[in-house]
């Protein structure tokens, strides 16, 4: 699945025809990408389209509710460079090895929707390019992501056993007093498969699925 040999900040892409099996509109041609973070070049982000499959290499940053409350509501500057970063909504299960060093036990991903209000400032103030979580962002995230060149990546919620094997090392931890909602820097290998849930072109799979479902509900109610 992963395309070998990609270098930092570049995406490798190949396109797969979905064929006639899928009845779900809009998603008839899907690409597979391998992407290495951090990414500062917006053109790399614009290659990703809602529905595409993505595997991530490089470095990602773990972040959660309390971490972002500290940055934006309490105005504390994060002690890590977030330019071009891929953020993961997580509160990892870890074992302490000693002085600021931790090893992974079980690392999974939490529901993103609670943290949608931080999308715009993350992009505008810190240059974040990717946000990854489960369950999607509501429509409030579409315009900031389009304007600032950001992507929402959907991970499979609950698939923590797999996710843990794709995190090679916990390289850095900041704000340990917020444990487990610290700022975490992970080195990853073949992280995914992820699905582009919201792209930087203004498309949201969640918006499309919800609109279609609301229409479908009217039809179902009429049958009851």
């Amino acid at each position: 699945m992963a395309v070998p040999g990609s270098s930092a900040g570049q995406t490798r892409t190949r396109t797969v025809r979905a064929g006639s099996r899928t009845p779900h509109e809009k998603v008839t041609e899907l690409a597979q990408h391998e992407v290495t973070f951090p990414i500062t070049d917006e053109r790399e982000i614009l290659k990703l389209r809602a529905g595409d499959e993505v595997t991530v290499q490089g470095h990602i940053i773990g972040i959660r509710d309390r971490t972002q409350i500290r940055i934006f509501d309490e105005g504390v500057e994060p002690p890590m460079d977030l330019r071009g970063a891929f953020l993961l909504h997580t509160a990892p299960g870890v074992r302490k090895l000693g002085d600021g060093r931790y090893e992974k036990v079980c690392i999974g991903t939490t529901t993103s929707a609670r943290m949608v209000r931080f999308t715009e400032p993350l992009g505008a103030q810190y240059g974040v390019r990717g946000i990854c979580g489960k369950g999607g962002f509501p429509d409030d995230a579409i315009e900031p992501m389009r304007k600032l060149g950001m992507v929402y990546f959907a991970i499979v919620g609950g698939a923590a056993a797999l996710e843990t094997t794709q995190i090679e090392e916990i390289e850095e931890v900041a704000w340990e007093e917020l444990m487990p909602e610290c700022l975490w820097k992970f080195r990853v290998k073949d992280f995914g498969p992820l699905t582009v849930g919201i792209d930087a072109h203004g498309n949201s799979l969640y918006h499309d699925v919800q609109s279609a479902a609301q229409e479908k509900l009217k039809e179902l109610y009429a049958r009851l």
């Binding site: 979905a18 099996r21 899928t22 009845p23 779900h24 998603v27 899907l30 529905g51 499959e53 509160a91 990892p92 299960g93 074992r95 036990v105 079980c106 690392i107 999974g108 939490t110 529901t111 929707a113 489960k134 369950g135 999607g136 959907a154 499979v156 919620g157 609950g158 698939a159 923590a160 056993a161 797999l162 996710e163 843990t164 094997t165 487990p180 498969p193 699905t195 849930g197 799979l205 969640y206 499309d208 699925v209 919800q210 279609a212 479902a213 609301q214 479908k216 509900l217 179902l220 109610y221 009851l224």
Partner: protein, 298 residues
Amino acid sequence: MSVVATDLQHAVEDAAAYLYVWALKDIPQDLRDALADAQNRETSIPGQRVLTTILKNVAIADDEQNLVCQDTGIAVYTCRVGEHFPLHPTRIYQALKHGTERATVEHPLRSNAVHTITRENTGPNTGYRLPIVHWEFIADWDGLDVKCVPKGSGSENMSFLKMCVPADGVKGIKQFVLESIVGAGGKPCPPGIVGVGIGGSADYAMYLAKEAITRPVGTRNSDPIVAELEDELFELLNETGIGPMGLGGDVTVLQCHIEHADTHMTLNPVAVNYQCWAARRASAHISAEGEVDYDREA
């Protein structure tokens, strides 16, 4: 009597500690079958991607003896206590609490329990009124059945209650379940088990919805009228197109289970409690002599 009670209390405590970890690592066969069946039915590409990843994750949890999901949940137990079981429920509760604590400390497991206002951690997955236990008392029997259901918060947050009026009828129940699951979208980690509680009172309807998600996947209510509603809602929910992880597709739910109670002539309550695809549960049967028989299927 006190000696027997003490031994029994330890047996129940050991069982609880074992069940909590077992449930988190090794999901039941009926759930594995339902997920494999979902993968066969799904035709959307993102949906296929999600289900393939889920099945791979379950296999890795087996191989690495790791947890299926990092959310160790809120510890919920259901207890069926025989009339002649020689340990009072007070002591059964103590044993379940100590077992939960031991599992959390000894494994170790992430501890999620906090005071609901201060948000300070209250202990190793225990606290005031935690764990939560559902009780049922059985006449003419001397055994105890314990089931541990670690309940993840992503799906528990997608719980809904509506006091329909009698004039809303069964149609009102169906509409509310449908709009709840569509509104929840990808947040509760679909495809999972939709638990529905109908009748009784407001609080009891939600209690019944939780009971419903603890049943083996695809079991049916013993009342044929309710079982028919389970079949119908299962079909309707999968027509919504929400799909695996809310990314669109044919499989929105693995099952719909309903528990019901008779109610007041002016009431028509309906409660929805969602259980994520990682619908973890593990059971044990404990005899009056303290013999523990672990059961993967119950």
